[in-house]
């Protein structure tokens, strides 16, 4: 029995089709490839595969998530000069690219509630100066957009609620995404508000959370104060 593992065919190459669609072919090579692809079932199948890949990418990794995650990885790796060089790119794409200090509110510094385990969260703000991570004690400017980025450390579910005097607002409830959440929010209140982030292995009912004590047993709870 023979089994065909494939390989290049006469004039056929999936990579050449990719290069054609990426605009990398010119002149006679471009014309030759276009003519071939137009009458080749195998290359047509490759085109369909490429179209399906694009749909899968947009479904699984939309650009905002992609860009935020790339920026975070750039920021976390020890190439500060490079990360600094890329700061304008990150700001332009609405990313959380900061090459310097870790600005996660650490429990020992800012929390009255424990945060056990390695799960963490970071807050980024975008204002007229660009995008930056919210520093401890830094007031949130009027009109600033706020982005919450999670590092769930294996936790499966997450919830984030904004607690203000007399009011609690659900910001997020769902899977514990690793990276920046898909929605930014704008805080229009004043004074002090607390952003409560719950990361849990079990379902979290965000609407029932009014304080850290409402989190499921064993959950990681992070509190971040917003000041204005």
């Amino acid at each position: 029995m023979n089994l065909d593992l494939g390989g290049p065919g006469p004039g056929c190459s999936s990579l050449r089709v990719r290069r054609l669609l990426a605009g990398e072919l010119t002149g006679a090579e471009k014309e030759r490839t276009e003519a071939h692809v137009a009458s080749c079932a195998r290359c047509t199948a490759v085109q369909e595969e490429i179209a399906a890949e694009r749909e899968t990418l947009r479904r699984d990794v939309p650009f905002p998530q992609f860009a935020a995650a790339v920026a975070e990885k750039l920021a976390h790796r020890p190439q500060r000069s490079f990360a600094g060089r890329w700061a304008p790119l990150a700001a332009a794409a609405g990313l959380a690219l900061i090459a310097g200090t870790l600005l996660v509110r650490r429990p020992a510094e800012t929390e009255t509630v424990r945060s056990k385990g390695p799960a963490s969260a970071r807050l980024f703000v975008q204002d007229q100066r660009g995008v930056h991570e919210l520093a401890p004690g830094e007031p949130v400017g009027e009109g600033a957009r706020i982005l919450l980025s999670l590092q769930p450390a294996g936790r499966k579910r997450a919830a984030a609620v904004l607690i203000e005097p007399g009011e609690t607002s659900v910001i997020y409830e769902g899977p514990a995404l690793n990276g920046t959440l898909p929605q930014a929010f704008e805080w229009t209140g004043s004074g002090v508000a607390t952003l409560l982030v719950v990361l849990s292995d079990t379902k979290v009912d965000a609407r029932s959370i009014r304080s850290a004590a409402d989190a499921p047993p064993g959950a990681d709870v992070l509190q971040i104060q917003l000041l204005r």
């Binding site: 390989g7 990579l15 905002p64 790339v70 750039l74 700001a91 990313l95 607002s169 929010f185 805080w187």
Partner: protein, 188 residues
């Protein structure tokens, strides 16, 4: 959503924020995403067979691209360059768990003996890569998946044509022994 004290910006992030940033810089990342991310993600999903790992690998590949932007821009074919980076990255991940990779191949070998349904051609190539040397793995992907000719592979990798041919034959020998059947491989 609008509630007192809070306004959620639907679809906020990159879309809105990009408008106020450096257009050229925002455009670069968006262009890289538009042109290459789908192919890279496809390659990562194909090799890793795990969507979460593939997403992570996709990000890692683009971090590498941004750190080697001048090299990327100087490449004769940016598509080929970035796919090679993706392949190399994923093969490294697979090699780190080679035992699992080989277990998957053994399941296919068992399935073939029981004459159950075989995996498709490309999946078979992925599993057979577990048996090959590091050099042969990359060359086999360029040949069987990207469908470059041996001459194109030699040019792309900087290896001689006889070396490329030798590595591909090594790959086929390993594959033939593993599956106990004759294999065909294009113009080999």
């Amino acid at each position: 959503m609008n509630v007192r004290g809070l306004r959620v910006v639907v679809g906020g992030r990159a879309g809105e924020l990009a408008a106020s940033g450096t257009p050229a810089a925002a455009g670069l990342l968006a262009e890289l995403y538009e042109k290459h991310a789908a192919a890279v993600y496809g390659r990562c999903r194909y090799l890793l067979k795990d969507d979460a790992e593939a997403k992570d690998a996709l990000q890692d590949v683009f971090v590498k691209v941004l750190r080697a932007l001048s090299e990327f821009r100087a490449a004769a074919s940016p598509t080929t360059w970035i796919l090679r980076i993706a392949t190399h990255h994923c093969l490294n991940l697979l090699r780190a768990r080679r035992a699992l990779w080989r277990d998957q191949l053994r399941m296919v070998q068992g399935g073939r003996r029981q004459e159950t349904e075989s995996p498709d051609r490309r999946e078979l190539v992925r599993l057979l890569l577990a048996l090959a040397s590091e050099e042969a793995q990359e060359i086999a992907v360029l040949y069987f998946v990207d469908e470059l000719t041996q001459a194109e592979i030699a040019q792309e990798t900087g290896r001689s044509l006889p070396t490329v041919r030798k590595r591909l034959r090594e790959f086929l020998v390993c594959a033939r022994e593993a599956l106990g059947i004759e294999l065909e491989g294009g113009d080999l």
